[in-house]
């Protein structure tokens, strides 16, 4: 029943324009102007005016543009001035459009549109539309000139060392940021449009000859399959192209850094950029990526490897520590060193809640504080953190509601989760500590082991664009471990990742390096 209702198509729902729209320009300019004006009626930002071309004002024309999206000075200087002031006298009437195109428009990007609907789309995306009398086509002049955020330091993935530039909202600038790093004709940027109403531009970026075989086709197919009115947020797109939507893990990841996007391109991955999004999607994304930070490649390999291992420890603490604490201190006291047990049991003397409930409450309280701190403006957010951490934590201990060791465990768990550099990975794993905690509270260590086994099964079943998510752990490939738990020195990184770089595995030639 619901399905049938859903399938019933409302008129015009699937098209941008009414069915009875104009397919081609008519010879009569007035008809064309009327059609466009009607389509764009009640749009106060659309401006239009008739103009006369040439000194003798011989040819009628009409221009359309959206205020605020075009650069008015630019239009005046490069379009209107040459058209109005120049001399058509000696030109044959039929050759006027050719002359305009070839000689008069001192603009680099001009397209000739045959259909009024296509012209309207151009106008709405910041072009100047020029209609000329007795012509069955129109010019769309790229005169985009809206206010844009400047390229500035990436906020989500900050590094102490390394390039600072982050992507911005404009897809034009974003792809140029990539092109600036990879100056190679094989860097392909394919354009797709997504959303019936929003008509958002999507770019699929890859390097020909390096990209994983069949990946580009698959990505394109998945994006083309989406039939939606509009996608405003990159996260929605990410979810829609993921292999397993229901999984807590994201099978692609987003980055704000051009250098990171480019290094992924060099590994045979695909970057998907969306207009109006300062993040790009990288696919496929596998487990190792969630441990890698752009900083790793700026610092010495020993330090980078140490930090990688630290992140791995951090991940384990995030997922398991609170569970282990509950399991061991409420079921397996024999596992604790005697002195530690005495210290903790002394601290827990006469507390009102069982350890499991205490941890659950504290973990939830932490999530509340974190969420409140993130959403609030920065100065207020800091105040909230202070109130949360100091007042509530301190007061709860002083009032003997919770024990200090539990606070330490919760704090450690929370802080450890922030060592995972990719937000998708950090959030998913932070959430996982709740099921582990529940399992620990119900069944102790066997419960934790069961929960971890379930997690392992789930991990193993996941795929990102057909690539096993757990690679290089399973399927095992030793050569990929050079950039997983440790980072090998750069001159040992001779091959691309086996799964994504199969088609062109060699990256670096063995040669004498340095002062040897």
């Amino acid at each position: 029943m619901l399905g049938r209702l859903r399938r019933k198509k409302k008129p015009g729902e699937n098209d941008n324009f009414p069915d009875n729209g104009m397919q081609v320009f008519s010879k009569n300019m007035d008809n064309n102007v009327k059609y466009i004006s009607e389509t764009l009626s009640k749009c106060c930002d659309v401006e239009s005016r008739p103009i006369k071309l040439g000194k003798g004002a011989k040819v009628d024309a009409y221009i359309f543009f959206v205020d605020g999206m075009v650069d008015a000075d630019f239009i005046a200087k490069n379009v209107l001035k040459p058209l109005i002031l120049l001399d058509f006298d000696k030109t044959d009437r039929t050759k006027v459009p050719t002359r305009i195109y070839n000689q008069l428009l001192t603009v680099s990007t001009v397209t000739i549109e045959k259909a009024p609907d296509a012209l309207i789309m151009k106008i709405l995306s910041g072009h100047l539309g020029i209609l000329i009398e007795n012509e069955r086509s129109a010019f769309a002049v790229a005169a985009i000139g809206w206010e844009e955020r400047a390229v500035e330091e990436s906020k989500a993935e900050t590094v102490a060392k390394g390039p600072r530039a982050g992507f911005v909202e404009s897809i034009r600038i974003n792809r140029s940021l990539i092109r600036r790093i990879i100056k190679y004709p094989g860097l392909k940027i394919e354009k797709l449009t997504l959303g019936r109403i929003c008509n958002t531009e999507i770019n699929i970026v890859y390097i020909e000859g390096i990209v994983m075989e069949g990946l580009v086709r698959e990505v394109k197919e998945r994006i083309e399959r989406i039939d939606i009115d509009g996608i405003v947020n990159l996260g929605m797109l990410q979810e829609m192209i993921d292999d397993s939507t229901f999984s807590v893990f994201s099978q692609s990841y987003s980055t704000e850094r051009p250098d990171r996007a480019c290094s992924c391109l060099l590994e045979g991955r695909v970057v998907i950029a969306m207009d109006n999004s300062p993040f790009v999607i990288v696919a496929p994304a596998l487990i190792p990526q969630f441990f890698q930070s752009a900083e790793d490649y700026s610092s010495k390999y020993v330090i980078a490897s140490f930090i990688r291992l630290l992140r791995f420890v951090g991940l384990n603490i995030t997922v398991m520590l609170s569970g282990l604490y509950v399991a061991i201190f409420s079921y397996h006291h024999e596992m604790i060193p005697t002195e530690l047990l005495k210290t903790v049991s002394q601290a827990r003397e006469q507390l009102p809640f069982p350890i499991f409930l205490e941890m659950l409450m504290l973990e939830i309280a932490f999530e509340i504080l974190r969420e409140a701190g993130v959403r609030l403006p920065r100065p207020v957010g800091q105040a909230v953190s202070f109130v949360g951490a100091l007042v509530i934590g301190q007061a709860a201990v002083a009032a003997r509601l919770v024990s200090p060791p539990s606070i330490i465990v919760v704090a450690l768990t929370a802080i450890a989760s922030f060592t995972i550099p990719i937000a998708e990975g950090a959030d998913a794993h932070r959430l996982l500590r709740f099921p582990v905690l529940l399992a620990a509270g119900a069944f102790g260590l066997p419960g934790i082991i069961a929960a971890l086994l379930m997690l392992l099964v789930h991990y193993s079943g996941l795929r990102s664009f057909g690539v096993p998510y757990l690679s290089p752990i399973s399927p095992f490939s030793l050569s990929d471990w050079k950039d997983f738990l440790i980072r090998a020195p750069s001159n040992f990184m001779r091959t691309r990742p086996v799964q994504t770089g199969k088609s062109n595995i060699r990256r670096q030639k063995r040669c004498k390096l340095g002062g040897k």
Binding site: S244, F246, F329, S330, Y331, H333, E334, T338, L341, K342, V344, S345, Q346, A347, R348, E349, Q350, L351, P354, I355, F356, V397, A398, R400, S403, P404, P435, L438, A439, G441, A442, F443, G444
Partner: protein, 396 residues
């Protein structure tokens, strides 16, 4: 997939319910027993087991904010709870504690088992069996024998740590590294020794003493380790004093260091060996087996009470005298073991290992053969230095 998600959510909800149905125990419900003391006592004209617990007791209002409201520091004496119970069996005695303590008796973290002298003389095998049988007690529990009346033990105060059990444990654990006058022995080894013919158990002995200093805070009695108890099968046979213990441990190869001193015309020389190579050998003589100990000591002269530089001749002389002295004290210990009938040195076990054929004859009445065994000791002493880089300090 959506179904699976629903099932997963259901599991999470259900997980909240069984929490605690299994053997969950909050730490504050546990009575952490640190040491167990077993002894016998006469109750109503019948001999009964007496079990004493030394357990950790939470200090009132402990934990929480340390340093706030003047709560910091370990409260004196409040950390220890000592209680005794009697029973025809050990199990019965243990059960009686539950009527007194509002907590679950938790033996997993017990680290010391003490046997009173009276029980030890009667035999410890029932108690050892009880401990080994229990899932909770660890085989790593140190075994101690208490010499004298056990009532004194319960009033004794620790000198360093917060409670007595912790103090004893710390002393024993430190000796694992240092060990010369005593060496710890644990439940596992004692249980094995009881089961093995040709190897009798032994354990360090603790005694109560009154500290000599006039510290007003510490007016009570304290505990220290003094010597070793030797068993014959599972029954306490007798004690070795500290000096004998040193020799005993050397023969057992448990202690590598120790001191011997010589008395030369009233002036004393002290020698500390830092390496003891102990070799055991079996020799057959007229179908009789002899055991020969060949011992080489290496060490330094650490203390000299007469003011001379030791020449090489004098050092040779000292070496011989020291060897003689060491040989005598080792022989004395072996004699003492013979006298007590305790094969704590494991001579039988050694014969069993080296000469299984002979052991098959000996094994049956080892208890009779052992006191007749010939055990010889030969000691070789080396003085590697005088521990002095310059001339001795002599008053002008």
């Amino acid at each position: 997939m959506a179904n699976r998600i629903r099932i997963l959510l259901l599991i999470f909800l259900l997980l909240l319910i069984p929490s605690g149905c299994w053997d969950r125990r909050e730490t504050e419900q546990l009575l952490l027993v640190d040491a167990l003391v077993f002894d016998t006592a006469m109750i109503d004209n019948s001999e009964q087991y007496k079990v004493t617990l030394i357990a950790s007791k939470p200090s009132p209002g402990g934990g929480g904010q340390m340093g706030m409201g003047g709560e910091g520091g370990a409260p004196q004496g409040a950390m220890q709870w000592t209680a005794s119970a009697y029973g025809q069996t050990l199990d019965e005695a243990m059960l009686k504690f539950s009527a007194r303590a509002p907590r679950y008796l938790y033996l997993d973290h017990s680290r010391i088992v003490i046997f009173g002298e009276a029980l030890a003389r009667k035999g410890v095998s029932e108690a050892i069996d009880f401990l080994v049988r229990s899932r909770a007690t660890r085989l790593r529990n140190f075994i101690l024998i208490f010499k004298g009346n056990e009532a004194g033990l319960l009033t004794a105060k620790p000198e360093f740590e917060a409670d007595l059990a912790r103090e004893l444990f710390a002393i024993l654990e430190a000796s694992v590294r240092e060990g010369d006058y005593f060496h710890p022995n644990d439940l596992n080894i004692v249980a094995q020794d009881i089961l093995t013919t040709g190897q009798d158990p032994w354990a360090p002995v603790i005694e109560i003493f009154t500290p000599a200093h006039g510290n007003q805070e510490n007016t009570g009695q304290a505990v220290s380790i003094k010597g070793t108890a030797l068993f014959k099968a599972d029954k306490l046979a007798g004690f070795l004093n500290e000096e004998e213990t040193q020799s005993f441990l050397m023969l057992k190869r448990l202690a590598n260091t120790g001191i011997y001193f010589l008395d030369i015309n009233g002036e004393k020389v002290s020698y500390k060996y830092e390496q003891a190579k102990v070799k055991r050998k079996l020799t057959l003589e007229n179908s009789k087996v002899n055991v020969d100990y060949d011992i080489t000591l290496q060490g330094l002269i650490e203390e000299v009470h007469f003011y001379t530089e030791l020449t090489e001749d004098e050092i040779d002389k000292l070496e011989k005298m020291l060897a003689n002295k060491a040989q005598n004290s080792l022989a004395k210990v072996i004699d003492r073991c013979h006298e007590l009938g305790s094969d704590a040195l494991g001579i039988g076990r050694f014969i069993h290992a080296k000469e299984p054929k002979i052991w098959s004859q000996y094994g049956k009445d080892w208890a009779k053969i052992y006191p007749e065994m010939n055990i010889n000791v030969k000691v070789n002493v080396k003085i590697t230095g005088t521990a002095l880089g310059s001339k001795p300090i002599v008053p002008e």
